[in-house]
Point group: T
Chain length 146, copies 12
């Protein structure tokens, strides 16, 4: 089982950016924890972070054939990028959406995700642990054949 993990703009700053809101765990530490969990589950991990919308669209377009499922945290693009939504619609790879902060406790424009209705489900608000819970949920869903 191959899992792609895509992270959007400014997530490379995790751990230093507004720690009261996002926590002190860095994206590198999250990657290590996800890779550990993946190894335990016998899954491979493809990891990408980018601040460029086009690079994320390119990455989504490469998913078919290279991944069985994806974990996507598109950051601010979750709320604004119709083009990223189109890419996800086009490839139809099953994915789980994760957010580090509880987007439902934030400003109105962050409560709407343009990807969420295409996802299997959403996990938000548990800090770095959101990635791990989302990974677990994704693997289980893929095993159920969903």
């Amino acid at each position: 089982m191959r899992i792609a993990v895509l992270s959007g703009p400014n997530l490379n700053l995790l751990g230093t950016r507004e720690p009261a809101l996002y926590g002190r765990t860095t994206l590198g530490e999250i990657e290590a924890a996800v890779r550990t969990a993946a190894a335990a589950a016998g899954a491979g991990v493809e990891w990408l972070q980018s601040n460029h919308e086009g690079a994320l669209i390119d990455a989504v377009q490469r998913l078919p054939g290279s991944a069985d499922g994806a974990l996507i945290n598109a950051g601010a693009f979750s709320h604004t990028s119709l083009a990223l939504r189109d890419a996800v619609l086009a490839v139809r790879v099953p994915f789980v959406e994760v957010h580090v902060s509880n987007i439902f406790a934030r400003e109105p424009e962050r409560r709407r995700s343009l990807l969420a209705d295409l996802a299997i489900g959403v996990v938000a608000g548990f800090g770095a642990r959101s990635y791990l819970l989302g990974f677990e949920a994704l693997v289980a869903a893929l095993r159920d054949g969903r």
Copy 2:
């Protein structure tokens, strides 16, 4: 560690109500799975389902002193009950919000939860597994002292 699990209106019909949307697992089966996970985690479980808004408010008011945290799936009341929100605001017990279906893929009035900004985080869309993932997230957050 004592965990209360509160489920709102029509969740007693899980497994028979719109199975294409909500799955075929019954609420009783979910309760059994959560109790198993709780036992493994050394936690006690208080379980309640009600179709009555007042009964759910009463239950939330009883949380302080009887539970360390809660798992709440308020069903349709999530979207309409300001009184239930007030109860949660009053008791300030840490909780995780769960939904069986992916509420972000549904009608607009179901995408707004009056409880979510008060929660530690939200898990939605994974069917019966949402309860288990939410339980896991809640226990971890309580252990972190959150």
Copy 3:
């Protein structure tokens, strides 16, 4: 053929409440008239009125197995109760919505019913007679196998 007739909050006051708007016939008189019509049609009648949203949800959940169709006048809950809508969605029993007053000649928030799109049809504005017309329409629709 078994028909359940469910009436929501404040309908127990019919005949005394704002008679210029709702007329002078009491709910008891309406019940008697519906029972007479039902007897003529060879149908049984289950009758319930409640001011409690939870009690109405419980009643809707009991419909499968106990009624072939329902006549529902949810009163003010027609306009506000997403939980009642969920119950009706869950049981999928055919029903006709009735209103004593012409809700289309009233305030904006009373012109939207959260149940109406799930109903076979709607009868509104004919005072106590709305129940009888709705009953007639329901029986005919059930006989047509709808």
Copy 4:
């Protein structure tokens, strides 16, 4: 007792137009059924269908002196014609509004009727039978002196 029955645009296509939505009964068959019911009730029937808004306004203007009440299904003009509303306001003949489909289960712009607040009441969603139920309701209301 003289009853005018006015039907608006495209209702001449009933039975062939979107039968899944509107049923297979033609407007001619409905006219025959209403005339039968009228004969039984000792009432005369004036019947008109037109696709022209002006023709319907002219017809409404002729109602005083020629009809005791009216059954009006203005079709799409129900939702858009302020001029037809003005005509109904001007003549003040008592009428019942009917719709073949359940307009409350359709697109938002069809859920608002510019005539409904002027009507005695509304019957919608029972296919061809809506005309018969509306006719029955109208005759009863006129007999009550309303």
Copy 5:
């Protein structure tokens, strides 16, 4: 100087339609008064009333070559007919808009006129006299070469 006076739907009912709102003067009496004023001003009058939107559009299209200016009371079409607006835009004949009632004291949808921004000016609320004041204003504006 030739003046066309165009009146829209239901204005043929003036004097009988809602007299508390529109007064008791008939459209025939208004026509006579306008013709008297026109004779005094040495102007000819073309008079038309129709309940048909298409007939009014046809009449507007005939204005160039047959009238130097127009007095238009489009009734309810003032608020809804984009096609009538297009006709007025196309012919570019100077005109004054008149209303018998004070449309600014009525329902919101009657406070917006689709013709008013194309008119020289607007006179509203003075009953039958609105036509005479509007006629006077139009003649003066045409004499000013406007």
Copy 6:
């Protein structure tokens, strides 16, 4: 018969302010013309212009006992001053609203007048002549006992 004519902010600049929009006649010339018309009609005129909302409210409060009717052009306060509306509501002196420009051909916030629904009627768009037409309409309405 005594008529008060009240003009609001910036109308003292008429003739010099945006002449393409408001014309080249000054407010002094309009006052002279209204006084001439009043003399011919045997009416007295009280004339006031102010840029101060409070001064206009004071003036409206003095109307009962000192004027039989009023001509009001409140300028920009027409669109924003709820306090001026309250003053007009309180004194209940009959009045006609006039505007020099055609407010219906201007920006949206100028198309709503907070006074218009309280007026007998409205005259707008005829430049300086709006005052004279409004004066004529007011005198006629007062003579009709309105």
Copy 7:
């Protein structure tokens, strides 16, 4: 003179719930103070608090015959319960609305009360004293025969 005092959801938590917002006086202490004031005024007091919307509707329906006036603090139901509004409309008992916090300084959805336009008046923001001021206002209004 008999006065009913009805308090809605979560008001049983007064004194412990968000004391920075609601103060430290308990509902029991308020009841004692109101009873003292009532004794001084020669009035009897009926006291009820409930978290159940249906129970509050039942209580309002019992008012005629058992109370001359009411003091109502419906808590969150003030903002959401059309059914409670209907009950108050039906019984037409004079009442004063009170709120412990200044609802006008809170979130938008708490600034609209579905009961306030039916009340004699509103007192909000004075903590526990709101009940006493409202009681005083109610007794005075009843004595004035209002």
Copy 8:
């Protein structure tokens, strides 16, 4: 192959009406060009222009049996006529929507077409050539069996 070409209100003025916006080609010249193209394609043409909404609805109702496809430029009715939309919905004849001007560069109410979602496609903004491009697109689509 038989093609009906329907043109709505004011299109008979093409060439004289606002030429800066609509160009100088008349509707007669467009008809000639379309007939030439149709002859080349071996297709017959039925041509209709009307300012009357009802006449256009009648024409749409006649399409089944008399035309294989239609080219529709409903002018201002594109934006307002729900009844015309109903007619098109009822007959389900494949059609292409054309507009002479670029409606997307115009006022907001002209940017929404009530017909466009029912069309195969839309061609707008190319002046008289829009009819020819639309004709070409329609013939090709019909040949593809769409």
Copy 9:
């Protein structure tokens, strides 16, 4: 203890202005009653009414140093004057907002007060007595050190 009482536009007309809505007590009578109550409470009263927004702003700016608290009924300026709100924000003198009528039973634009969220609390709807109840509430709050 020194209390300033500020009343805004048109309140000088109390007792004569729309008595069905505002009652028959004059502002002079209210002033006398407040002065009597103040004397009993050992407080001094500064009294001002003005129709001029600027005069009220000046008065609010003078409050620090001259008053311990204020009673403010800004009339229509409550709903429109951001400048008055700024003055109140700047001086930060504790105040109670009062309204003679029940503003919650009136038009929407009167239900929003630009001052209310800055006030200790609000009293509305009790006619002249609103001033006395507000005075009582203010004195009590100042005594509590609020």
Copy 10:
């Protein structure tokens, strides 16, 4: 004559992405067809597709001097990219907007194009043929000197 053809995000997936909506023709096949048509028209073609908004802006900025006109299908950026609109505004090269699907039959946010009011015209809904029809329309418009 040199024509640039710019295609935005995800259009490289044409033929495989949601074929029910977008058809089975690939972008490569469309390019070949456009080049053939261009050769026949004696025009050169510059072809670009990119998923990167910045790359498309760069390309638009290069148009002056390198192309006489453009065919633009900006995909999802049509609906969201104000920066792309600014680029088109800045270079003022004549262009035609094309869409493969009928955007007017899709979700509301896809019905608004930020480029369309700047285009000569729009062609949408004819699958791969939209490019050819748009090319034909562009060449004709350029030949007309538009």
Copy 11:
């Protein structure tokens, strides 16, 4: 070169009013600094502050003939006074708008200025320095002949 500096309501409180938001520099100190800068630039300064909208309108009306340009900080009237906007429109004197606080970081109703689209430009958020920067920008723009 003569420059008028107009400051609106509550700006006389600068330095004492909400210093965290507006700073501790008084308006007198700002005036002194502007006069120093003006002297250095060889410009004369006319200085006015008022809490009265009418006084500010009067001042704007006096600008032509007495000033070559203006610096305007209308305070809260920036957001509400259409009459002040009209005065500025009428005199057409070039001006720069300044704000002490960053109005873009404040409540929504403060983010819209009714004057800003008439200004050369806007400077906001730099405390007392906003006046100096605005003065510098104004002088430079006047020197450029703008």
Copy 12:
């Protein structure tokens, strides 16, 4: 003191793009002027312009450690890029926002900046000079320790 100056999409076209709106000064000339001012102030300048949102986000992320403050003109991204806002939020470097045109005199979607509430202040509308004024304001604010 090190200052970064970041310019967004299409600003490389300054001087040629819509000169009536943006002026004739090129971005290169502005850079030279800013460098001259910086040299005089003893400050270093880092200069970047990009049409790529991701490149701007990368640049903002590099600010901490490389610049003491920034001057940001994000062009169209000011109004649409939540991701750029997130980057600015994350790095918390003090900055001034500048715009060449007066964005308050433009279309509504350009009047809202997603960055402005995070800035020290805003300078807009002075053409190329906006950069210089903004630079001056930034240096002064940094010297004040803000």
